[in-house]
């Protein structure tokens, strides 16, 4: 393994504030402070130092964990202040040496996870009434500024030195912040000629001009920095309601590892390494709470929260640790009654904890949509694709439903399919599926109040891609799986990225669809990663040498 493709043996995504190496989380009343204090020696692997609060995936895994815990464990918090522990520098963005020495697939997946975390901050602001203030106590560059952009408000210290900047184009020959350009054009809606200028000034923009161009919401001198941050956070907190007073702790998930396989309580992931396929199965239990108080009493053990936490963890394991996996066969099993009762609660309660759980399920489903794996939903003996479990099938690229009167297969629709779990494009999976025949959405949703239906009906409703009988089933599925695994992995990624998001576009689809694709392109180009590419030369005595052809 050469330095250029140095990678990690296995990544884990479970952590806890007690174990954080890079963040300090403190809560005082209704204001939390999340302080970036990156340990330069605490990188995920050897070979780079996380200087100047530059980050790697490990830093972002902790950040994602912290945001998640703030949502579940601290309903009393109304405003989160993101700030840094260094003088003059808030965050220098993604670590360049780490990027340079990572393989392409890792780099792409790192950027994706980072984007998901940033979008998670925005999701918390929109759906949990949790406001974020980026208190930039020093310069925020590249991904550091992008993190600030994900926050609702940005306050920058006015010390004649600290700036916000996107130095990637001039210094590294890659796109800024992996998502930042979309936030600058579509969230802050800054004039495009100014974003052009801003994105080419390596040293960034500071002070009054940063405010004038709306790159930040305000500045404050060092002499009254803490006071200014406190006032702004106080003001933001006072404008919204407190969600709750008692939080729900999120314990570590129990997982049994057997080689690359993973078995959790409600989820199992079995990989066939030779075939490059994985079986991912989620199972609903026989009983469940039916009102918010009972669900809250169960806390993190509430089956639906635990099941999707496990599913999310399995997806990340697949993405980052099982990169040779081509295709995932998804099954949903267990009690339809449990899913129906739980969906009714998820979609009908205004309890903060139920709301948080619903949005977590939504984010997990989105994580699936955004994973560069083919997903085939398999509805065969004993499966229960009902309601929120049906969303897993609708997330898939295809659905195979066994249509045999002797082998009952359970399918069904609930309120959960009527828009409670929007995709990144802002509409439901049913609406995306039936974009050209919107009446079909209604016809399917007519089955909302039950009962479940069989394969035949599912096929008539347009929910099956293929519905072979028992005689053809095995061969048809086997051939489809073998074929899928034989295709170019890159062509599949490109194809799925385009087919999965028909219809409307949002900031999210732009980030994952458009901007990511350009970045992936640039990350492959010799002008960035070649021997004399800008990313390769940065911080070395060499100057980049470009192929000057405009493409």
């Amino acid at each position: 393994m050469t330095a250029a493709t140095a990678e990690l043996s296995e990544l884990t995504f479970q952590t806890h504030p007690d174990q954080y190496k890079h963040w300090l989380l403190s809560v005082e009343g209704d204001i939390a402070t999340l302080r970036m204090a990156i340990d330069p020696e605490g990188g995920l692997r050897e070979g780079y130092e996380l200087k100047l609060n530059s980050y790697d995936l490990g830093v972002d895994i902790e950040l994602a964990d912290a945001i998640q815990r703030l949502r579940f464990e601290h309903p009393e918090v109304r405003c989160v202040v993101l700030t840094g522990n260094l003088d003059r520098v808030f965050c220098a963005g993604a670590n360049i040496v780490m990027l340079r020495s990572s393989g392409h697939a890792f780099k792409v997946n790192f950027c994706k996870f980072t984007n998901e975390t940033r979008c998670g901050i925005e999701d918390a602001a929109e759906n949990s009434g949790l406001r974020f203030l980026a208190a930039l106590n020093g310069t925020a560059s590249g991904g550091g500024y992008e993190l600030a952009l994900a926050c609702e408000k940005i306050l920058l210290v006015d010390d004649r030195n600290s700036a916000v900047s996107f130095p990637e184009v001039p210094l590294l020959g890659v796109l800024p912040g992996t998502g930042g350009l979309t936030r600058i054009t579509d969230k802050r809606k800054i004039r495009r000629d100014r974003t052009d200028v801003f994105s080419t000034i390596a040293e960034g923009i500071k002070g009054k001009r940063a405010v004038e161009w709306d790159l930040v919401d305000g500045i404050a001198p060092l002499s009254r920095w803490d006071e200014a941050v406190g006032e702004m956070a106080r003001g933001m907190a006072d404008e919204i309601q407190v969600r709750g007073d008692q939080g729900v702790p999120l314990p570590k998930l129990d997982v049994t590892a057997d080689g690359v396989n993973r078995t959790y309580k409600y989820v199992s992931l079995q990989m066939d390494e030779a075939a490059r396929t994985a079986e991912l199965t989620i199972t609903a239990p026989d009983t469940c709470p039916t009102d918010a108080a009972a669900a809250f009493a169960e806390g993190a053990n509430w089956w639906v929260l635990q099941a999707y936490r496990e599913f999310d963890d399995a997806l990340l394991h697949l993405r980052m640790n099982l990169r040779m996996n081509a295709l995932v066969l998804v099954r949903a099993k267990g009690s339809s009654d449990t899913v129906r009762k739980t969906d009714a609660l998820l979609c009908g309660s205004d309890h903060w904890f139920v709301n948080e759980t619903k949005h977590f399920v939504k984010r997990t489903l989105k994580r699936m949509d955004l994973s560069s794996r083919s997903f085939f939903a398999v509805a065969d003996a004993g499966t229960t694709f009902v309601g929120s479990f049906l969303e897993l099938a609708l997330s898939g690229d295809r659905t195979y439903i066994l249509n045999d009167p002797d082998i009952p297969v359970n399918l069904g629709v609930t309120e959960a399919n009527a828009g409670h779990f929007p995709m990144s494009n802002g509409i439901s999976r049913l609406e995306t599926r039936f974009l050209g025949t919107p009446d079909d959405v209604k016809t399917v949703l007519d089955h909302k109040s039950g009962p479940d239906f069989d394969a035949e009906t599912a096929d008539e409703l347009g929910l099956a891609t293929y519905a072979p009988d028992d005689i053809d089933w095995e061969d048809e599925l086997r051939l489809a799986v073998e074929e899928r695994a034989s295709f170019s992995p890159d062509a599949l990624t490109g194809m799925e990225s385009n087919l999965r998001f028909a219809g409307p576009e949002t900031m999210e689809t732009k980030i994952y669809g458009r901007l990511s694709a350009w970045q992936n392109w640039i990350f492959q180009r010799p002008n960035a990663v070649g021997e004399r590419g800008a990313l390769s030369c940065y911080g070395t005595p060499n100057r980049p040498e470009f192929n000057l052809e405009r493409t």
Copy 2:
């Protein structure tokens, strides 16, 4: 020059039906037939044979010309039938050997031009009342099917053999049709699991299933093929109005070439090869027709039509022949009064010829937006960025305006800036610029009825990126130009592609922004273009060998 980067010395985009090698254009009454009859030996360069109606850029240049002429020269035509001259095959898509032996930049620019031509067909349908029927008399594969998708209706021959197909993913390891996936999801709105299946079946889908999946609008047996095509075309034609009876012939543009430079009547393009910059200047004449009848009497000599035809030709020359060019300095000169009078006519007349001219100006401006070049609009001595000419400045990445009381610079707004020339994102350049401050659009448009204003006012209105005085002007512009040319060309392409299209997304922005970026990425990947990549191996005895990592 190796085979892998074999390219053309210089391309020209002017042609005429008399010179077509690959298309037969015939007009009978209100129905035109455009018959693809590709000359296998007529490729743009040596090294490949255009078998089975497979195409290269030369074929598409003729197609673009034919569509353009149908709009201007044949206002009597209401329906265009696109069909082929071969048995069993309509069109096999882009020629694989040509693709394989082309350099990356050429390939990307070829795909872009092809997409622009396809979008041009849709623009004609939407804005010229010209309906297109793809009469697929044989199999339409890849780009061949994409061409059909660009038409409003598709009729497929039902001969047990002919199909529509996207074989790229299974056979070539690249994305289908360079724009086709967007049309399938967003124009025909076909169910995503079906598009997934369709895009992985190399042999395609034919007959009744093609109709059932809405891949085509109808099928007809060979025995009554001509009759069925005729009936469908007749029906389509009868549903709309005839635009006019007498066409406007489009003569060859007069152009003086001096090395790579080009001088036309109203446009000049001067390249500084050492600096990698070009100066592109458009000039309005002193007098002009002021009503539709007078404009129509001038025909293709009407200054605004000729000027933008020249501008369009210069842009294509820049793109395809001057690929080392980094940055274009755009100037607009001449009579403001002429531009104002012409804008009033363009935006106020319902004459078909004026309408065609307006939409041609629109498409030329879009071509500029979509060119992978940096554009700086330069407003200095003698320039006239008024109305439709102001759109050129608004297309640019930045605007430099000389702010010196002794050197008058002319700027102004007309009705043309109020939405008559939408960008690919469907909104005006002013609306895109002021996405975050929509009131600024109104403030600018308050100047619509004139008079022109000076640099100072333009700056106050937010139209200048920089407005230095005479003392700083030269240095500031020179430094900005030198800096721009020093950046990674790829990073600039990615950045500009993202910054130029803030706000709403459309099928067009998806095609040029999202899908193109994925294709560009895949076009660079070893799994497609490496020694054992799928594109490299196709048609050879070698089987592709993939790096199986999903990215």
